[in-house]
């Protein structure tokens, strides 16, 4: 098992380097704005643009630039500096990370709880009115675009601009360490939006997984042993049905940690997703690289965690 983990981690490292290289190439090859020109502004002489380009290290060959960047990371854990503000990318990432983590993990708790509950209830009475209603509702929520949903909940429930002034509005996020209560209340609406579509998906997933599980022979055995139906459903049914859900959950959270930009924008939560988007509009390569690297890291780690978890969740799985 240890061997397996070590091997996965090493592969993860290789993958991260490959991802970095890919982003490196993409942003220099595809038609994005040229950072030197953006920085130089209009009316600029070509001489100045060239000097700026040299300053930013953009005049070196692509492999040379990449090598410098890689060395910086591996030796000094230095991810470079923003072309615009000069802030260190590392400090920006760590500054923004808690907000995204708060948003995503909190949202995940909400959607897993909601999705599982609805899914289990629906699975136990397939094709009942309750089942049809909840699956119909799920379809609706999945189809709602996140950005639109965010605007709607703000216009309905935000304390500053809503019809019913209940929850703190956009821009009210504060870090957990600053004010735990305000942190919590400011995230309620964003958590709902993040969770809405996902809860629906997970409800459907749980439903179909549990329906399939409840048709298995070992469920029949459990009933034949005289166990209460509650125990049969939860201890035997859900326990088996939950495995695919956990796999997908880890991957979903891993992906979302790098890309929650829509919700972060609507609610003005200063997270990694927004940092990434702002950097893209400015062609601020170091930040873009940093955020993409971080997103890739999350996904890789999530994958590894899932594989490890599986060995505990399903005893039939064994890694050599």
């Amino acid at each position: 098992m240890i061997n397996y983990i070590v091997r996965r981690l090493l592969w993860g490292l290789v993958l991260l380097i490959a991802v970095t290289a890919l982003i490196f190439i993409l942003f220099r090859v595809l038609p994005t704005a040229d950072p030197a020109t953006l920085r130089a502004g209009r009316l600029q002489s070509p001489k100045i643009i060239a000097e700026i380009r040299a300053d930013l290290g953009l005049d070196k060959s692509l492999p040379a630039q990449f090598w410098i960047y890689l060395k910086g990371i591996l030796l000094h854990f230095n991810l470079g500096y923003s072309y615009y503000s000069g802030a260190s990318v590392k400090s920006l990432l760590f500054d923004r990370l808690p907000a995204t983590v708060s948003l995503v993990l909190g949202g995940a708790v909400v959607w897993v709880t909601a999705g599982m509950t609805v899914g289990i209830l629906s699975a136990l009475r397939p094709r009942s009115r309750r089942d049809r209603a909840s699956m119909g509702g799920a379809l609706l929520l999945v189809s709602a675009p996140e950005y639109w949903l965010g605007l709607i909940v703000l216009y309905l429930f935000a304390a500053d601009i809503g019809q019913l002034r209940i929850f703190p509005g956009s821009g009210s996020y504060v870090p957990l360490t600053t004010d735990p209560v305000k942190w919590f209340t400011s995230l309620l609406l964003p958590w709902f939006v993040v969770a809405a579509g996902n809860a629906a998906i997970y409800a459907r997933l749980m439903r179909s997984s549990l329906i399939e599980t409840m048709g298995q022979d070992y469920i029949r055995t459990a009933r034949a042993k005289g166990l209460s139906e509650r125990r049969v459903v939860m201890h035997h049914g859900v326990r088996a049905a939950i495995n695919p859900i956990l796999t997908i959950l880890a991957l979903d959270v891993g992906v979302l940690l790098g890309s929650a930009v829509l919700v972060e924008t609507v609610f003005n939560i200063p997270g990694i997703g927004r940092l990434n988007y702002d950097a893209i509009t400015h062609a601020d390569f170091p930040i873009i690289q940093g955020t993409v690297l971080m997103a890739a890291l999350f996904i890789i780690v999530a994958n590894i965690l899932v594989d490890i978890a599986y060995a505990y969740l399903d005893p039939r799985v064994r890694y050599s």
Binding site: A224, G226, S228, L313
Partner: protein, 359 residues
Amino acid sequence: MSGERGEQPLLQVEELRVEFPTEDGIVHAVDGITYQVHRGRTLGIVGESGSGKSVASLTTLGLTRGQGANISGRILFEGRDLLTLPDRQLRAVRGNEIAMVFQDPLSSLHPFYKVGAQLIEAIRAHREVSTAHAREHAVELLGLVGIPDPRRRVEEFPHEFSGGMRQRAMIAMALINDPKLLIADEPTTALDVTVQAQILALLERLQRELGMAIVIITHDLGVVAEMADDVAVMYAGRIVETASTELVFAHPEHPYTWGLLKSIPTLTGGREEDLVPIPGTPPSLIRRPSGCHFHPRCPYAQPDHARIDPRLEPVEGASSHQVACLLGAHARQRLWRELSAGRMPAEALAAAGLAEDGR
């Protein structure tokens, strides 16, 4: 059934009917069957797939209740009608006084929990004991069913057991609360022949030691010959013949039973003797054949067998032997004589010289 002792049967099934409404129509899974099981004795229920043999047993334990089934009749267990028992009380019986063993032990055991944990769960569902105590009992049972090194095995997962050991573990789980009745649904079908023999021997031994009744459901007449005291032959949701094992094997009365017997290869039959399969396929339980349900596949069917539905009636001279067939008793004896001499059904039919009305 043997009514020798005259004591009350442990399990008495009366006119049990189980129907499942489906989109295609009503499935008549069990169509009015009656049988008994006595303490310490084994009843073998034989039939093809789709004969309704499993549904009857599942219904005994109330396991068909959630599926929208229409159930009528009575199932008396020690005098109590299980069909009318509320869920909670029926659950107290399940896994406790009546236990069941299923066909595929790999899929019938939960893959994620250790075998010991599943045994302990079975105990604690019905007894207030500590986990440690329950584990001791589990180890004991595993030893009882012949699993070596039970103390280690108790901490393993089902996929770490071999097929035969898994079935033993399932049997241990079924027996762990000292049930009075054990229902074994095709317990050896998924196992190797050698392992089969071991499991059957185990069941027999346990029955002797524990004095419990067994219902063994199977399509394999060899198993029946080995284990059952009494036999009920089922076809299309009905019992078509029932008697003690010796009688059924020595003097089978129903053409279906003949078909089953003739399709078994025997060591004593000559090489030239062909196996005689029963032609056709089991009937749909939604749209059953008119009249005698077996008539489309019966080589000896007469024209009015398509109209008249036979009832289960005692055979002359052996009141415990019942059969549901429209052929006359003498005709049946003649036919069986011919068949057991090695003739094919068509020849037997000619040789027996049936009269117009099937006598």
